[in-house]
């Protein structure tokens, strides 16, 4: 079983890296991009003895307490059986 955790800065939190990437991408000639926000992506290989519910619970807690800082970031968890 696999888990994927996506961590992104909350809307409104300044993302200077995203802005710099946006600028570079426009210099390359790409147009029509309103905004780029940079985030983090984690892949977790899970023990197969976990149920999907248990995996969702524990990965959620991990995302909340370690992988993200809830003051500045939101997270999303996906579980793939």
């Amino acid at each position: 079983m696999k888990a994927r955790v996506y961590v992104n800065l909350k809307p409104g939190v300044l993302d200077p890296q995203g802005k710099a990437i946006h600028h570079s991408v426009e210099l390359l000639g790409f147009s029509g991009i309103a905004d780029i926000r940079q985030g983090k992506y984690f892949e977790l290989a899970l023990d197969s003895s976990l149920s999907e519910g248990e995996a969702r619970e524990s990965v959620g807690r991990m995302a909340r307490e370690v992988l993200s800082n809830p003051i500045i970031e939101d997270y999303r968890v996906e579980i793939e059986a």
Binding site: L9, V13, L14, P16, Q17, V66, L67, N69, I71, I72
Partner: protein
Amino acid sequence: MKFGVIVFPGSNCDHDAYHVISKHVGQPVDFIWHRDTDLSSYDAVIIPGGFSYGDYLRAGALARFSPVMSSLKTFAQKGRFVLGICNGFQILCEAGLLPGALIRNRDLHFICEHVFVRVATNDTPFTNELQAGVVLRLPIAHAEGNYICDDVTFEELKRDDRIIFNYCDKDGNITDSANPNGSRGNIAGICNASRNVLGLMPHPERACEDLLGSSDGRDVFRSLAATLAAVV
């Protein structure tokens, strides 16, 4: 009185802090390895600058899980004094001992220069030997020093006089152009509600000798020593 300086893998201002306490404050000080958990013999603990755990994940995020940190929480709850400098400030925020977070500088650069900071209040154990409003010249050296917090926290910090240092120009004016990293309200340092835990991005420990370009940082340590002399 006795000081401790916590050493994480990747701390690099630990010796500076130790030097200032032993030489300029003239008090006993120990290095405390991050796996140690007994803080009972210390009156004040410094969390020094550096790159604990290589700044992996987020600056200060992994240091929060070192064994010493749960002891540090108890230490702070008992009203003992904690000073977090630069990475130490980031660690205190990640650990929830101070509110808010420190994110990437607004211009993305690692900034290494002397800046001016205004002492907003001398009503703390770390600034009581200073005058409110005085301007210090201190070095900064960080890529993630952009202080951010929500509106409620910001109002609380202002209302309770918990913003201790603000970035300013040489005359003490708190302006956007004097803000090196984009910090909300030009915040350079804050304390907790009970005022015994202070975090700041500038490095007072690197500004204690004229040879190093400034000795303005000495007063922070002199204040803490004066506090301890009165209570210990």
